[in-house]
C-alpha cells in the first residue's frame, strides 16, 4: 500500500488510528501495540501476502536467536558469538538470496559462459531496511547493550508500518523505549504528525513526480540507445537530482508524520543534504539512518579511522561500495557507491592537507565555501547519473553528453527552470524538521536536532498554520490521481 494512495489515506490509516487510540483510551496498551502489529502485517501483505510468511519466519528465528544470545551472555558462555553468527548468516543470507542471486548468477554465466538457470527471484519489499534493523538489534544484544526485550515490542520494532518498507532505519534504542510510554501521547504530536505527513505528501506529489517528468523520458531514451545533447543531459541529471531528494525525503517526512499520529517519534533521515559544503557533510545529511548504520555496524567494526590513514581510506571505500550495492544488485549502484567512497577519501585527504598547511581560515572564507558547495553538488549530480541509469552503457552515454561530446542542443526553458526552482528550494528553504522544530527520539548518539530558523517560519498550533497545511494537503490530494510508486521501494 502506498502512502500516497486513497486506500491508505482514507481507509487504512483512519481505521488503524481509530482502533489504536480506542484501545489506548481503554487503557489496553498491549492490545494497542498488538493492533499496530496486525495493521503492519496487513500493510506489508498488501503487495504480496506470501512475503508475510518470510517476515514472520525471519522475526521468529531472530527472537529465538536473541533469547539464546541473552542466555549465553548471562551464563558467560562463548556460544553467544555462535548465535550472533547464526543470526547474521540467516538475515544476510535471506537478503543476499533475494537481492543478489540473479545478479550473481547472471554475471557468473556471462563470465564463465555457463547457463545456470534459477528463474527470477522477486525482492520482498522492505527486506533491505528491516534486515539492517534486526542486525543492529542482534549485534547490540551480543555486545550487552540490550539485556532483555519483550516479543511484542520487538515485533512492533521490526514491523511498524510507517518505516517498514523504506525507512528511516530505526535503532531499537530510540523506538522500543517509546512503546512502553504510549499511554501518554501529547495532542500536539498528532497535529505535528498531520503537518509532517502533509508536507511529505506535497513533496512527493507536487514536486518529485513533476521532476520525474523532466528526468525519466531522457534516461529512458538513453537506455533505448538515443544520444542526448549537452543541455538535455544536464537538464535530466538536475531533474533527477531534484526528484530523488524530494521523493525520498517525502517518504521519510510521511513516515515520521504517520508515526507521530501514533505517538512515536522516528529519527530524521534528511537534513537538507544539498546545502552540504563537502561530501562528508553530505553523508551526515543524506539518508542519515543508513549512514549511521553503515558507520556503526560496518565502518567502525572494520577498524574505522583507528588503524592509520591508509586503512581508513580502504574502510571508507569498502563501506561505500557495500552501501552502493545495498541499493540494488547492479554495476551502476556499485559504481555509485565506489564514486562516493572515492569522494570521501579525497575529502578526508584534503582536510589533512588543510590541517597540515594550517589553511583552516579558508573554511570561513565565503568564496571558498561557495566553491566547496558547488563542487560537492556537482559531484553528487554526476554520481546520481549512475544511480538512475538503467544500464552502465546509458550512464556512460549521458555522462559523455554532459561533457559536451554529443553537441550542445537547444536549451528548453522549462527543462531547466523547473528542476532549478526545485533544487533552489532544497538549497535555500528550511527543511521539514526546521519548520516544525521537530525533536527526534532520544536514544542514539546523533539526534540531529534541527538548526533554528526565524520565528515567523516556524510551525505553530495555530489556525493560520492549520490553513497552510490544509491547503497543501488538499492540493496534494487533487494531484494524486496518477498514483506513482516511491523510488526507494525498489531497494
Amino acid at each position: 500500500m502506498l502512502f500516497n494512495s486513497y486506500t491508505f489515506i482514507f481507509v487504512f490509516l483512519p481505521l488503524t488510528l481509530l482502533v489504536f487510540h480506542s484501545l489506548r483510551y481503554l487503557k489496553r496498551g498491549r492490545s494497542a501495540i498488538f493492533s499496530l502489529i496486525v495493521a503492519s502485517f496487513v500493510f506489508y501483505g498488501w503487495w504480496n501476502p506470501q512475503y508475510i510468511l518470510l517476515l514472520v519466519g525471519l522475526m521468529a528465528s531472530d527472537c529465538v536467536i536473541a533469547q539464546q544470545i541473552i542466555r549465553a551472555r548471562q551464563q558467560n558462555k562463548r556460544s553467544a558469538k555462535f548465535w550472533l553468527i547464526i543470526g547474521l548468516v540467516i538475515n544476510l543470507g535471506a537478503l543476499g538470496y533475494y537481492k543478489y542471486a540473479n545478479f550473481f548468477v547472471d554475471n557468473l554465466n556471462a563470465l564463465m559462459d555457463w547457463e545456470i538457470l534459477i528463474g527470477t527471484v522477486v525482492l520482498p519489499i522492505g527486506i533491505s531496511f528491516f534486515t539492517f534493523q534486526k542486525i543492529a538489534f542482534l549485534t547490540d544484544l551480543y555486545h550487552g547493550k540490550v539485556s532483555r526485550f519483550s516479543i511484542l515490542n520487538y515485533s512492533l520494532f521490526v514491523t511498524f508500518f510507517p518505516q517498514l518498507i523504506a525507512g528511516p532505519i530505526v535503532h531499537h534504542s530510540e523506538v522500543m523505549p517509546q512503546f512502553d510510554k504510549l499511554e501518554r501521547i501529547e495532542q500536539k504530536m498528532v497535529a505535528l504528525g498531520v503537518t509532517f505527513f502533509s508536507i511529505g505528501l506535497a513533496k512527493k506529489v507536487l514536486i518529485a513526480d513533476t521532476a520525474a517528468r523532466y528526468a525519466s523520458p531522457h534516461f529512458n531514451a538513453a537506455f533505448g540507445g538515443e544520444t542526448l545533447d549537452f543541455v538535455t543531459a544536464w537538464g535530466a541529471a538536475f531533474a533527477y537530482t531534484a526528484q530523488i531528494y524530494y521523493d525520498f525525503s517525502a517518504y521519510s517526512d510521511m513516515a515520521i508524520g504517520i508515526a507521530l499520529l501514533f505517538g512515536i517519534r522516528l529519527p530524521i533521515n534528511f537534513d537538507s543534504p544539498y546545502k552540504s559544503r563537502n561530501i562528508m557533510d553530505f553523508w551526515r545529511r543524506w539518508h542519515i539512518t543508513l549512514s549511521r548504520f553503515l558507520r556503526d555496524y560496518l565502518y567502525i567494526p572494520l577498524g574505522g579511522n583507528q588503524k592509520g590513514q591508509g586503512r581508513r581510506f580502504i574502510n571508507l571505500i569498502i563501506t561505500m561500495v557495500l552501501g552502493g550495492i545495498w541499493h540494488g544488485a547492479g554495476w551502476t549502484f556499485l559504481i555509485w557507491g565506489t564514486l562516493h567512497g572515492l569522494y570521501l577519501v579525497i575529502n578526508h585527504a584534503w582536510h589533512g592537507i588543510v590541517r597540515r598547511l594550517s589553511l583552516e581560515p579558508l573554511r570561513t572564507n565565503k568564496v571558498f565555501t561557495a566553491f566547496g558547495w558547488l563542487i560537492t553538488f556537482l559531484a553528487v549530480v554526476v554520481a546520481w547519473v549512475f544511480f538512475r541509469a538503467t544500464s552502465l552503457d546509458s550512464a556512460m552515454s549521458i555522462l559523455a553528453s554532459m561533457t559536451g561530446q554529443n553537441g550542445f542542443g537547444t536549451p528548453s526553458l522549462a527543462a531547466f527552470l523547473v528542476p532549478a526552482i526545485f533544487l533552489s528550494g532544497a538549497v535555500i528553504l528550511p527543511n521539514t524538521q526546521q519548520i516544525t522544530n521537530y525533536i527526534p527520539p532520544a536514544g542514539t548518539s546523533d539526534r540531529h536536532l534541527a538548526r533554528p530558523i526565524p520565528e515567523a517560519l516556524r510551525w505553530k498550533l495555530s489556525s493560520q498554520w492549520a490553513v497552510y497545511v490544509g491547503v497543501l494537503f488538499a492540493l496534494s490530494l487533487m494531484y494524486m490521481t496518477q498514483v506513482s510508486e516511491f523510488i526507494y521501494f525498489q531497494f
Partner: protein, 427 residues
C-alpha cells in the same frame, strides 16, 4: 499564542473539506466527462471535448444512469456502426445502449457486462467480436480502463466503490483542468449520441479530421497501413543489444482473451441474459491482411472455437459470422486521388451504419434496411456448418484475390516493407 489542538485540527479539516468541496462542485456543475448531466447549458458546458479520450469513463457513468435493458458490446467498430435506435431492436427492448469503445478487449467487455447487469435490468446483450479477440492471447486491459468505476459482483462493496470513484474524479486536478477547458471550448458538433453510438456522419466530418483533409480513399489506405503495424508489431524480434525503451507491464492475469469470452457466455446464461454473438463485418482487406501477415490460421481457428464454446450451453448461444467475403465486405475502393465516398465503409476496420443496420436485421429477424439483405452477408454458424463455412471462406477468398488484384498488391507491398524494416522473417 498557541491554540488548542482541537481547534487546529478542526481548521485543518475544514480547509481541506472546503477546497475539495469547491473543486467537486465546479466539476459536478461543468461535468466535463458527462458523468451526471445535471446542468447542460448551451455555450457553457454542452460541448465536452474531454470525453474524446474518456469514453470508457463516460460509458461507465451513462450505464449507471440509463440502466439499459439491452446493450451492444464491442470495439470501435461496434461503437461506430451499431445503432441502438435501430427500429427492429427498439421494438423489443428499452432502454438500449451502445457500450462499445475503442480497442475494447474481452476482459474489459466482461467487466462492463457485469457493470451493466448490476446497474439495472439487463436482459439482452449483443456482443460484437473482432478476429483478434478469438485467440488464446493473454487477457489485457487498456491503460484508461478503470475497474473502480464499475459495479462488481460483490454487491455489498459496490456503493463504497462508486462513492470512492466519484470522490477521486471530482477532486482531481485533471478534472478541474478539463472543466476549465470545457467552459472555454468552442462549440463542436455532437459526435456522441445519447445512446452511446459514435456518429460517424458527424465524427468523420469534423474540421481537421483526416477523413476530410486527405479524402476517403487516402484515409482508407492510411488505416490499412496502421493495420499492418497492429497485426505485425508483436512479431518484431527483440534486439538484445537495444533494450525496450519502457519495460512492459507484467501481466498478472493468467486468463486469455478466449477465457473472458467464455466468462461472458457463462455470466449471461447464469443470469438469464439473452446473448447473441456476431463476428464483425470488417472490410475484406482485414481478412487479406490476416492472410498476408501469417494470421490466417487464427481466423479459421477462432471461428471453430467460438462455435464450439457457444454450443456448450443447453440453449445454445447464437453466433453470427459477418467476418467473411460478401458483396458488402468486398466493396471496391474509390479511385485514388478522388473524394469519392464508399457506401459501406469508413476504412477497412470500421463499417458504416447501414452495415450495422443489416447486422441487426439479420440478428433480430427484421428488415429496417428496406431492401433485401445480400444472401452472402452473414450466416448463423453452428457446429454442423462451421467447417462448410470455413471452406466457403477460403473459396470466396480466392475469388476476391482474383478480382481485387491491384488493391491487394499494395497491401502486399506494405506488409513486405514493414517486415523488411523490422527484420520479421517469413514463417
Amino acid at each position: 499564542m498557541q491554540e488548542s489542538f482541537k481547534k487546529h485540527i478542526l481548521v485543518f479539516v475544514l480547509t481541506v473539506a472546503v477546497i475539495l468541496l469547491a473543486s467537486a462542485t465546479v466539476n459536478i456543475v461543468v461535468d466535463p466527462f458527462g458523468m451526471y448531466r445535471l446542468v447542460e447549458l448551451e455555450g457553457f458546458n454542452d460541448s465536452k471535448p474531454a470525453i474524446y479520450n474518456r469514453v470508457r469513463l463516460l460509458k461507465a457513468y451513462e450505464v449507471r444512469r440509463i440502466k439499459p435493458q439491452s446493450i451492444v458490446l464491442g470495439t470501435s467498430r461496434v461503437h461506430l456502426g451499431m445503432r441502438p435506435s435501430h427500429e427492429g431492436w427498439a421494438s423489443q427492448y428499452d432502454p438500449r445502449y451502445n457500450l462499445g469503445f475503442d480497442g475494447a478487449t474481452t476482459k474489459e467487455m466482461y467487466a462492463y457486462l457485469v457493470h451493466a447487469h448490476k446497474a439495472g435490468n439487463l436482459e439482452h446483450v449483443i456482443l460484437g467480436l473482432d478476429s483478434y479477440h478469438l485467440t488464446n492471447a493473454p487477457a489485457t486491459a487498456k491503460p484508461d480502463f478503470d475497474s473502480t468505476l464499475l459495479y462488481t459482483q460483490q454487491d455489498w462493496i459496490n456503493p463504497f466503490r462508486m462513492a470512492a470513484a466519484d470522490f477521486k474524479i471530482l477532486t482531481s486536478i485533471s478534472t478541474l483542468q478539463a472543466s476549465l477547458n470545457t467552459v472555454l471550448a468552442e462549440p463542436e458538433p455532437r459526435w456522441l449520441a445519447p445512446d452511446g453510438q459514435r456518429l460517424g456522419n458527424v465524427f468523420f466530418y469534423r474540421p481537421g479530421e483526416n477523413y476530410v483533409e486527405c479524402g476517403p480513399r487516402c484515409y482508407f489506405d492510411e488505416i490499412d497501413k496502421l493495420e499492418v503495424r497492429y497485426k505485425l508489431e508483436w512479431k518484431i524480434p527483440v534486439d538484445e543489444n537495444k533494450p525496450l525503451r519502457v519495460a512492459p507491464e507484467p501481466n498478472t492475469d493468467p486468463m486469455t482473451s478466449m477465457d473472458y469470452i467464455r466468462k461472458i457466455m457463462a455470466y449471461c446464461v447464469n443470469n438469464d441474459i439473452k446473448l447473441v454473438i456476431f463476428l464483425t463485418p470488417s472490410h475484406a482487406h482485414q481478412l487479406e491482411l490476416d492472410g498476408l501477415t501469417g494470421n490466417w490460421w487464427s481466423v479459421e481457428n477462432g471461428k471453430r472455437e467460438i462455435v464450439k464454446l457457444a454450443a456448450e450451453y443447453d440453449k445454445s448461444i447464437p453466433v453470427y459470422d459477418f467476418t467473411r467475403y460478401s458483396s458488402i465486405t468486398t466493396e471496391a475502393l474509390p479511385p485514388e486521388g478522388t473524394q469519392e465516398e464508399m457506401r459501406y465503409y469508413w476504412d477497412s476496420s470500421h463499417f458504416k451504419q447501414p452495415v450495422g443496420d443489416m447486422v441487426l436485421d439479420v440478428i433480430l429477424g427484421t428488415n429496417s434496411a428496406g431492401g433485401a439483405i445480400p444472401g452472402d452477408f452473414g450466416i448463423r454458424m453452428r457446429p454442423d456448418n462451421v467447417e462448410t463455412a470455413i471452406s466457403r471462406l477460403n473459396e470466396t477468398r480466392q475469388s476476391y484475390q482474383n478480382h481485387a488484384v491491384s488493391e491487394l498488391e499494395k497491401l502486399e507491398v506494405w506488409v513486405d516493407n514493414f517486415m523488411e524494416k523490422h527484420g520479421i522473417k517469413d514463417e
